[in-house]
Symmetry: C2
C-alpha cells in the first residue's frame, strides 16, 4: 500500500458528491411553498417563545411544516460544547444559522427564537441563510415590560448580580433597524401576532393560499 | 449595578424556556406521521447518495417531507470548522446526529448519507437521535464493485497514495450487524431500493397509508 503524504486540510479531497441535491425550484414546486427562516430577536421576556409556539401551532394546523429552534433545544444538544464567551456566542449563532438554513432548504418554515442581541450576529445569520429566505422579526417590548414579566426571575437575579452579562441589564441589546415584521407584544396578543406573520409568509411565498 | 461573580459554566443560568415545545404526539397527530432518521452507511461508491436522492424524490412526490443530509452540504456549512482528525470525525458525526434529531423532531424523514464507517460512531448517532426513531440502513456493495464504479476517481487516488485514510483502502469499514434494512446495490436498482424503504417507513409509522 503506498502511503503518500496527507494533503493540506483545505484541499479536502475526501469530500465529493456523486448525486446532485434536488434543485430548490423543483422542491418548492413539489411542496407548493418556499422554505424560509423567521429569525426572531428581542429581549428576554419580550415574548419570542410565546409568539414562536403560537405561530408553529397555526402553521401545523394549516398543514404547513414549521419548526421552532430555541435555546434549550440547541444549548442542550448541538451546542452543548459551547459556553458563553464571546467566541462561543458567535459559534452558537453560526451553527444555529447553518441549521436554520438546512431547514429552510428542506422546505420547512424555521422559526429561531433566540435573543440574538447584536446586529452583527444577526447579519452573520442572514449571510449564512441567504437574504432571500431570511426575515428578521423584531419581538418588541421595552425593558420595563420584560422586567415586570420576568417569567423565570432572571431579571431579578441579574439586578442582584447573581447572573451577569444579561442582555438589557449589563449587556447590550441592539434593536433591528429594518425588521421584516415588528411585533409590539405590549399591545399585540399572540393570535394577532400570528396573523401578522401568516400574512408575511403568504406575501413571500412561504405559505400557500 | 452589582457585578456578582460569573457562575460556573455548567450551571448555565442564562438558559431557560418560557414556553414548552409542542408535544411529540400532538405534532405527529397533526402531521399524520412520525419523523425519523434513516441513517445510511456504506462504502464510498456503494450508492448511498443515489438511493438517498431517489427516496427523497419519491417521498416529496407522495407529499411527505423528506430531506437528505449529505457530506458536501454539512462539510461546507455547519462543520466547515472541522477537519479529518479522529476527534474532528467524531464531532462531525455528533453534530450530524444532533441535526438529524432536530429534523426527526420536526416531523421530517431525515436521510443521512455519510460513509460513517465505525460502529461506535453509528451507535453514538443512535443514542443522540433516540433508538425509537433511528434506523440504520446498510447500503451494501463489496469493495471491488465500489472500486469499479469509482464515480469520482477517489479509489484510484487512494490506491496511488494520493489520498490516505480512505475507507476500504487504508481505513476500516465496519458493516452493520443488524441493519433495519440492507440494500445490495449490486443487485437492487434505485427504484427497488426505494420501494423497500417506503415499505419500512410505512411499517414504522413514518409514512401514512
Amino acid at each position: 500500500m503506498p502511503s503518500g503524504t496527507l494533503p493540506p486540510m483545505n484541499h479536502r479531497p475526501n469530500i465529493f458528491n456523486q448525486v446532485k441535491p434536488i434543485p430548490r425550484a423543483e422542491r418548492e414546486r413539489k411542496l407548493g411553498a418556499r422554505g424560509g427562516v423567521l429569525w426572531f430577536t428581542g429581549l428576554s421576556g419580550s415574548g419570542k417563545s410565546t409568539v414562536a409556539r403560537a405561530l408553529e401551532h397555526r402553521l401545523l394546523d394549516l398543514g404547513r411544516m414549521a419548526y421552532v429552534l430555541d435555546g434549550d433545544e440547541i444549548r442542550n444538544g448541538l451546542n452543548r460544547d459551547l459556553g458563553f464567551t464571546q467566541g462561543d456566542r458567535e459559534e452558537n449563532i453560526r451553527r444555529i444559522a447553518e441549521v436554520a438554513r438546512l431547514f429552510a432548504e428542506s422546505g420547512v418554515v424555521c422559526i429561531t427564537s433566540f435573543i440574538s442581541p447584536l446586529r452583527r450576529h444577526r447579519d452573520t445569520a442572514r449571510g449564512i441563510v441567504g437574504t432571500d429566505r431570511f426575515a428578521e422579526i423584531f419581538i418588541d417590548a421595552d425593558l420595563a415590560t420584560c422586567e415586570a414579566r420576568d417569567p423565570k426571575g432572571l431579571y431579578k437575579k441579574a439586578r442582584a448580580g447573581e447572573i451577569t452579562q444579561f442582555t438589557g441589564i449589563d449587556s447590550t441589546y441592539e434593536p433591528p433597524e429594518h425588521p421584516a415584521v415588528r411585533i409590539d407584544t405590549g399591545t399585540t396578543a399572540p393570535d394577532q401576532a400570528t396573523d401578522l406573520l401568516l400574512t408575511y409568509l403568504r406575501a413571500n411565498g412561504m405559505l400557500a393560499g
